[in-house]
Amino acid sequence: MKIADKEHSAVATIKHALEKAHKFQSRYNVFNWINDDAIKRAEEIDARIARGEKIGRLAGVPYALKNNFLSRQGGTTASAKILTEFSSPIDATTVAKLEAEGAIMIGRTNLDAFAHGSSTENSYFGTTKNACDFERVAGGSSGGSAVAVALGIVDFATGTDTGGSIRQPASFNGVYGFKPTYGAISRYGVVAMASSTDCIGFFTQNARDLDLLMRISAGQDSRDLTTLPNFYQDSKVQEVRKIGIIEDFDPEHIDTEVLNIMQKRVEQLQKSGYEVVKLSMPALKYALPAYYIIVPAEISSNLSRYDGVRYGWRSEEARDLDELYKQTRDQGFMPENKRRIMIGNFVLSAGFYDAYYLKAAKARTLIIQEYMRAFKQCDLILSLVAPNPAFKLGSKTHDPVSMYMEDIMTVPVSLAGLPALSIPVGKTAAGLPVGLQLIGPQRSDRTLLRFAEQVADLGCGEQNITESNKREEK
């Protein structure tokens, strides 16, 4: 990341980023809102530099904010109609920390409404297109953020990852996407989806920038009591020698090109002296059904607060309070929001709780135990991010279960609260990016990021950024 200094003015950097943002917007639909006032913030940074004042570690660096983070700049809608008239009076802790270091938000990025989705097609503000092929999806739910970094509009973007919402769009657009250990970064001021797996993370063009962003944003916050006592900054980088490969995913359901790219990278690591250990993890097969019980259950609870009364959009047709709630929620949520709320209420309702919710919570224990056994045999796990590269727009929107299958390799990690990083490692013949997922034990975040740097140095990391810049010049 280039921070502002005497040679690179913040104003020039931000102007350039805003120009790109406007230029790409009509084609890719990256943003819900572009912050033209960002120039004023850049002017303040330049004035501070001119006065010789101390500036932050992100001074003048443009970033994009996933539109489910509260910030006093622009409206936070979570890309849903029900929040279209909401402007936050506070900043999320993460936003406050980034801006205290001088980072400048140039736009709020599109997502599947309330982060429910794997393609950014469930947004009230339309679909975001893939950075490499605009007949294909950006992935999701943080699709806008992934594309903003892939197109080189910003140096980094924030994301949230409940079951893969950072890692999968990172893979689909050829950028780095990091979901830290559960509780590493405060979620205060971020629209809640499923509180037992929601994580804040980032998209960047390299692993080193992720380390800087973690140094700035990780840490305990008295406003989010699930945050872990500070560990990132002081944790030791462990040596990585053994890399685990999960054997249990059925190759029949995985795209051959994606499998070949993975195979090639594994061989490359072996040649570089890493030991590759094969892991049998049969319980992972049950992670996706368990996830689609636990997460809707938590969603049904977290989304009960949206009723049109205290903030956001309100249906004007209601004759009484009950109608106000029901009509506001019916018209304000996207279909996928409603499906998840209803499934959540189903699995929690009397007569079904034991068979679904409790069963899933027990499956979660077995999944966690399986990872603990795995990390006795290896230092990190290497896996695919998704079973396929970015798919065609509209190809999964009519079949919710096929969309859920997109998350099959990312949700097990979320249920166990582990850190995981999607790194760009190659492209299919059609030029679609493919990412691999590095997974570590809880609190191994620094080791994971350091290892990703080493992998990139081996030539495994392949970035999409140069091509998107080329495209821009056309």
């Binding site: 009076p89 049950y286 903030y311 004759r319 106000l324 929620r329 279909p335 209803m342 209420n345 809880q442």
Partner: protein
């Protein structure tokens, strides 16, 4: 299990959603498919397994019981709602 319009309508009530008829019909099939999918958990033996609800082992995180200054004033919060009267949020009749 079989999902019918009665189940959908019950879930819509629990969810505070006034579903239109065509959407309720579409959801009937969707919800049945989803429940069929998540029901594969039945195969998994979970006898003697404790459930997990929290993954990092944090328990009882206390803070000092003290009054802290509020970041946001009631005026700043009231501007977020549609209709107010005498510093209160106004809604349509309840009954």
């Amino acid at each position: 299990m079989e999902i019918n319009q009665e189940t959908v309508s019950h879930l819509a009530t629990l969810s505070d959603l006034a579903l239109e008829e065509d959407e309720a019909q579409k959801f009937e099939g969707d919800i049945e498919e989803i429940i069929k999918y998540i029901s594969q958990l039945d195969e998994l033996d979970t006898a003697d397994v404790e459930p997990t609800y929290q993954v990092t082992g944090l328990e009882n995180v206390w803070r000092v019981d003290e009054i802290r200054p509020q970041e946001v004033s009631s005026e700043e919060l009231l501007v977020l709602t549609k209709d107010t009267e005498k510093q209160q949020i106004k809604v349509p009749r309840v009954l």
